[in-house]
Symmetry: C2
Subunit: 342 residues, 2 copies
Amino acid sequence: MKNINIILVGAGNVGKAFLRVVHEKKDFCLKHYRLNLKVPFIFSSKGAFCCPLCEDSQEILRKLYPEFTFEESKYWKPGFSYTQALSSVDPGVLAECTPSNIKDGEPALTIIREAMETGWNIVTANKGPLVVDFAGLIKKARKNKVTLKISGATGAALPTLDVALYSLAGTEIYRAEGILNGTTNYILTRMMEGLIYSEALREAQEKGIAEPDTSLDVEGWDTASKILLIANAVYGTGLRLQDVKREGITSIPQEIKNESQKKGKNLKLLGKILKNGHKVRLEVALSILDSSHPLYMVNGTEKGMTFYTDNMDSVTVTGGKSDPRGAAAALLKDIINIYREK
Amino acid sequence: MKNINIILVGAGNVGKAFLRVVHEKKDFCLKHYRLNLKVPFIFSSKGAFCCPLCEDSQEILRKLYPEFTFEESKYWKPGFSYTQALSSVDPGVLAECTPSNIKDGEPALTIIREAMETGWNIVTANKGPLVVDFAGLIKKARKNKVTLKISGATGAALPTLDVALYSLAGTEIYRAEGILNGTTNYILTRMMEGLIYSEALREAQEKGIAEPDTSLDVEGWDTASKILLIANAVYGTGLRLQDVKREGITSIPQEIKNESQKKGKNLKLLGKILKNGHKVRLEVALSILDSSHPLYMVNGTEKGMTFYTDNMDSVTVTGGKSDPRGAAAALLKDIINIYREK
């Protein structure tokens, strides 16, 4: 049995779901993976829950379950710093769940760098720091002999990178296409069923599928970020967000929609990776799929990705829960796989 | 860089494809995984190619490429034994590619056991020994601190077990359904297009999709074997082939076929895993899928599998090359992942 200390940074929807999943899966992880998960530190935007000496922090957390109102606990310390936490217990995994900031990656980028330098492995659900400096973080991880896993930021419960790096190990992936954003796929699906864009968008917002500010989704930035991270992780490239040719779904010509409908085709916003020799090209493009395309039936908020390889032909993965619990389960999966590989 | 000695046992279609893939991917594996693959021993049914002291056995093999007519090489030794090979070089991976024998698993079972006892990891494309004694082999692997990987026997280029064990780590899989046999799926697809069973079967045989003896496929034995291996690997159960409730596709009532066609549904032979508490039930059943089922569009020789989990919803994987090269690539993938995990 191995004790694994986890520092959670960010106690929003995904962070709280992660605590619930870790809590529910404690015995499961002990039995199946011989990992004893502990969460001695939890940082929210307002302070920290600190329980480094607790015999079983899970037991303490259980009393706060399911809402985790840390502020009411005697372990709540408003002024506690990351630096203190990182050096108070044996390094394990820092789970980074702060809100995504693809402009400069902060505050996550600074936290992740410091954690790596003190021997902590990283799992993250946050695209921000990875979009800004994935190459630098990978280099720092190698230097400090720690692992960085990013399933939470590249499809979450849909295993995109796992399939590319593990299930397709040894193959050359020369092309990949993914429906990687549930909000845009929901809007497009409803548009193919007859709604106009503004109606479909409003419906998605009313159902809580789309955020109030949808620009990151509908303008293709979220898909661009994911395809960028997947490509950089698979090929070791240092591509940047501005290298992704990108379009959104906000101004689809009526005739394209009509023609797709008439011919029984489907409109999808695809993130695409195209490799030619050493050159990797990335784009987010509105695409018309016919029924022979493996992602043709991926509708509503569902996601999916197809990898085209030299020796295994194409492999497609679809599904995976698109909510905080799915993202939380992806973080836990990455933690388990870090220790499998060490 | 790590030198990896590989002993190949079985130089039929899959074994030869494996040699070709290892040969073509030598530089790729060195660059991407820092693994230097060497194949000092190759056993066919007639003898062995032995090159333990060759500076680079790949270089020697290159001269035999692409047909690998070992018998003409000066390294050919008709009477050489496995035992000698296993102890002549540093243990690496034994790749087992002899023909499948689900009756008693031999000769593979004896070879695998001996290899494990002398410190060799195992990758295999052969269901036989795994169907007969998976639990015993897993126990022996643990005892000898070696790894047994079986992608080649559980979908090959379609990553079924990888997804279940790696991509879905930490989840509880409570149900799984797979189209795991390309031959039966081809026959069923053609039947849904109007052929009767005997016509579809003959066509499959003419196209080289079905073997001359198709009973293992069309009576559901192949699907039953795969579902058995996947379940035993995922749950650590010791289920046996006789525990799988099984039907084939040889006598489908005409009215079932007609009704499926009329309603736009699809007939599939599904391998099913159903977990209820600690009880795991396995069956191979002809199933009528409507268009909402994730495997509805998996037609022809294509395969696919859906896993239903507690925290990630369902995840479906489809595709993967169904030929010796796909199986060979799956063996190489398993070798790479063994060393990633050590």
